[in-house]
């Protein structure tokens, strides 16, 4: 078994820092490369390795392709980075591949888009509480402002109670277990280290493609970080559930609203998988992840074919035999490290309270972050072949009801379809709005610590 060089791997790849209740991400652009390199040199010792669980704070750094170029990496080294990382997520092809149209169009992004300042560096800061984060952030800021760096924007985050996201659902449950970390996971959920960290064998038993600087393996212990700022329209989400479930004559039916929203998600608000408990949520199943669609829900009667969790990780249920299916699904996994932002609609974050809310003012959403070793085969594939694929799982014209982009530039259509399979006739919803819009994003390379010091010395 290969030994992980945890000391050289940036810690956020290995752990999500649930104990750090405050975090912020600074999006930086380099104005003076040599000053910036000095800054990186000084910063390197503070960057948190993966060998310890930090107590006071954590600091991480990642670079876009433009950022590496700006630091002065030579052409040959730059060319050794993968195509997806070099081209980014806003080319014409990528816009279509990822489904970023309408309100998600990169021309309207706040950062990382076609009309925005070039993004070079992402600095990620974590601390136990808001106060500690402010002083940590100020300290970092005072260093970069005198080091040839401009902050394009600071992306703040919020930790919501009970690990909820803004719609009121438990988030971040089904994470793959990294094989090399020797934790034992559910069968079918333990994934080769090289799927997430460069320099280790992947699910094919091969080493992932890695950037080279001369003889140095620049990729070793690094990873690719996908960042997408996803704005969530909580009002539209719950209003849709209300409009679609309200009986023609009567009062609103909160139970039905919750049921429809949960069908779209594939889990109940507390995290209970529909496959394990189709009729109600159960406290004992709130983080349950040991379930499958193929054996217990082949017809989609419990968890609809189009549900968000069934699309984003189909497990044993792809159109092939179950063993092959899970082997395929595990070649398209990502490590999620996202954090919410913006004030919650209801402080309790109970779905029952959120749907009752009358005040939806404010900008809120999810800073979606994930790590993978092959952006094309992992993040982009999930987005294109599963989330935004109108034909996923034998369906005809549906995209992910939660995060899918229903915009069809050629048809002027901005709503989608969602079907709930039932014994006999299905229930179909034909006018599902887009609840989530992309507001910014970029692909980053998060180097190992040795590679980081190399970057500061070129």
């Amino acid at each position: 078994m290969e030994q992980l060089e945890t000391k050289d791997i940036q810690g956020v790849i290995i752990r999500g820092y649930a104990h750090f209740h405050a975090a912020c991400f600074s999006v930086l652009t380099i104005t003076d490369p040599s000053a910036a390199k000095k800054w990186i040199r000084a910063l390197s010792p503070q960057v948190t390795g993966g060998h310890i669980k930090p107590v006071d704070n954590a600091l991480h750094i990642a670079f876009t392709f433009d950022g590496l170029k700006s630091l002065g990496l030579n052409k040959e080294t730059l060319n050794s980075f993968p195509l997806e990382f070099e081209d980014g997520m806003t080319t014409r092809h990528k816009q279509q591949f990822l489904g970023d149209f309408g309100t998600s169009d990169p021309v309207n992004w706040i950062w990382g888009g076609k009309t925005n300042e070039p993004v070079h560096i992402l600095l990620m800061m974590y601390a136990p509480d808001a106060q500690a984060l402010i002083s940590f952030y100020e300290k970092q800021k005072s260093a970069w402002t005198v080091s040839g760096m401009t902050e394009l924007l600071e992306l703040k985050t919020t930790v919501l109670p009970a690990r909820k996201e803004h719609f009121g659902f438990h988030d971040g449950i089904a994470q793959p277990i990294i094989k090399g970390l020797k934790k034992t996971g559910v069968e079918g959920n333990t994934v080769a280290t090289g799927e997430f960290i460069l320099g280790y064998k992947n699910e094919y038993g091969q080493y992932p493609a890695t950037p080279q600087s001369g003889n140095l393996d620049l990729g070793k212990n690094g990873s690719y970080l996908v960042f997408r700022q996803l704005q969530q329209d909580v009002e539209s989400f719950w209003r849709y559930m209300d409009d679609s479930t309200r009986p023609t004559d009567g009062e609103r039916d909160e139970k039905e609203m919750l049921r429809l929203a949960s069908k779209m998600l594939g889990r109940w608000p507390n995290g209970t998988p529909l496959v394990l408990s189709p009729d109600n949520q159960r406290p004992d199943l709130k983080e349950a992840d040991n379930f499958d669609y193929h054996a217990s829900d082949a017809d989609g009667m419990k968890c609809p074919f189009g549900a968000h969790v069934r699309r984003s990780n189909p497990r044993y249920a792809l159109d092939t035999d179950p063993r092959t299916s899970v082997a395929i699904a595990n070649k398209h996994r990502i490590l999620r490290r996202g954090r919410s932002y913006g004030t919650p609609v209801a402080p309790s974050m109970r779905a029952e309270d959120i749907l009752k809310s009358t005040d939806y003012e404010g900008d809120r959403g999810l800073h979606f972050l994930c790590f993978n070793a092959d952006i094309g085969r992992q993040f982009e594939f999930i987005q294109n072949a599963w989330i935004n694929n109108p034909k996923f799982g034998g369906l005809y014209d549906e995209r992910d009801p939660l995060t899918g982009n229903h915009h069809r530039p050629e048809e002027n259509k901005t709503t989608g379809t969602f079907t709930i399979q039932r014994p006999g006739l299905r229930m179909r919803y034909n006018d599902v709005p887009e609840f989530v819009s992309v507001k910014g994003g970029a692909y980053f390379f998060m180097p190992g610590l040795k590679a980081l010091s190399h970057l500061s010395s070129i």
Partner: protein
């Protein structure tokens, strides 16, 4: 029942006419492939898929020059004569203009008969032809999809009146709806089953071959063993020639992948030198061609559920392999399916081309080397200048599903069966 054919016109391009053709295709694409005035594909109702591919000047495995060629292919509804007639009738002058840039094309002014003759004479043999969408005509695929869509809309509109009704009642209301719609009149009768003659010939051939194989099995076994040993010697001797793919090439290819539902793939590779490789490849391709209709009749090519049509050709006097396919999803997923689902079967057919990852006994190794396989595939992949699909929005899975919807309109059903049928929506 309709059967399908693969038309593959492969001809040398006249010297210095290559760019002219590429520009013509660019123009056709700019106007819109479906309705361009040269070859208005949409009007040619026998075509499921079609493409034009310009094969650039090249060298074979031994370094001998190969001139630029033009490839024009269609997946059509049989019979061929009818298809060729339609091509000439509707797109005759356009095809005349295009093929005028090719060698041995009549120098006269437009003449439908000589065009027909030219297409027929230059139609190359397909070594393996795989049909994933079953025996359905272009029109049937389209209509059965419309049928399902119409019923879905009906169900949405009648949501309240159908609520609480028993499955049998709901089904009857759907059947009644279909029978009342003049545009769905065709759906009141089932698609004709294959004729006795067809069935006899289809299964007769299979039984014949099985009997022959059994009869000669000791001899065949011996031959296979000897053949495999010779192959192993070849495999050990052949040098590994990895073919990394450049970013420019990859970019050009993926930028052309703009379909939401379907995509195409064209690949050209040199066959490894020597008669032995060529013979082995021909034998395997032809055997697969014979077996495919029996083995892969349910819409899955060696387990891959997304391929509408695929074909393998050996062109240029046995020097090169041309592989063309039409499938659902994106090419990344498609190529990954090769590795994940059908590595051995496809390695058996592809391993005779230069640059393919090292194999042992033609099935071991090969596509197991995922990186080597992806590099090989992208390296061999070439730009498809024009690509047309008649039913762009239906997947193989949709096509089979739609037929089940239609078939369910005719039979007697009990409540449980009716319930199951309703779940198709």
């Amino acid at each position: 029942m309709t059967s399908h054919g693969a038309l593959s016109v492969v001809v040398n391009i006249k010297p210095r006419q290559e760019q002219l053709l590429i520009d013509t295709f660019k123009q056709m694409e700019k106007v819109e492939v479906d309705t361009n005035h040269l070859v208005p594909f949409r009007l040619i109702t026998t075509i499921h898929f079609a493409r034009f591919v310009v094969l650039q000047k090249d060298e074979d495995a031994k370094g001998h020059a190969i001139p630029a060629r033009l490839v024009f292919t269609t997946n059509y509804d049989l019979p061929l004569e009818n298809h060729l007639q339609q091509l000439v009738q509707i797109a005759g002058e356009g095809l005349w203009q295009i093929f005028s840039s090719c060698e041995y094309f009549p120098a006269s002014s437009y003449n439908p008969e000589s065009l027909y003759g030219y297409l027929q004479a230059n139609n190359q043999q397909t070594e393996t032809f795989y049909v994933g969408r079953g025996n359905r005509s272009v029109d049937q695929v389209e209509k059965e999809n419309e049928l399902r869509t119409a019923i879905e809309t009906f169900i949405d509109q009648e949501e309240h009146s159908l609520k609480g009704e028993k499955p049998g009642v709901v089904r009857n209301k759907i059947i009644e709806f279909v029978s009342k719609r003049p545009d769905l009149a065709w759906a009141t009768t089932p698609d004709p089953a294959p004729s006795m003659g067809w069935m006899t010939s289809f299964y007769g051939k299979m039984i014949g071959v099985i009997l022959l194989t059994l009869l000669f099995s000791p001899l065949i076994l011996l031959l296979v063993i000897v053949w495999m040993l010779i192959m192993l010697v070849h495999e050990l001797r052949e040098a590994d020639e990895p073919d990394p793919v450049t970013k420019e090439h990859a970019r050009e290819l993926i930028a052309r992948e703009t379909g939401v539902v379907q995509t195409q793939f064209s690949a050209l590779g040199n066959i490894k030198p020597g008669k032995f490789r060529l013979l082995t490849m021909l034998f395997l391709l032809r055997m697969t061609n014979f077996l495919a209709p029996y083995l892969f009749s349910k819409g899955k090519l060696s387990g891959i559920p997304t391929v509408h049509f695929a074909r393998w050709l050996i062109i240029n006097d046995g020097k090169q392999m041309l592989f063309l396919s039409n499938f659902d999803g994106n090419s990344e997923g498609y190529l990954r399916d090769f590795i994940h689902i059908a590595a051995k079967q496809l390695t058996l057919m592809f391993c005779h081309t230069v640059g393919y990852p090292k194999t042992r006994l033609m099935v071991f190794g090969g596509a197991k080397d995922a990186k080597g396989f992806m590099d090989w595939a992208r390296n061999k992949q070439i730009v498809t200048n024009i690509w047309y699909s008649a039913n762009k929005d239906v997947t193989v899975s949709n096509i089979f599903h739609n037929s089940k919807v239609r078939d369910g309109l005719y039979k007697e059903m009990n409540e449980a069966e009716a319930c199951k049928w309703l779940q198709l929506f």
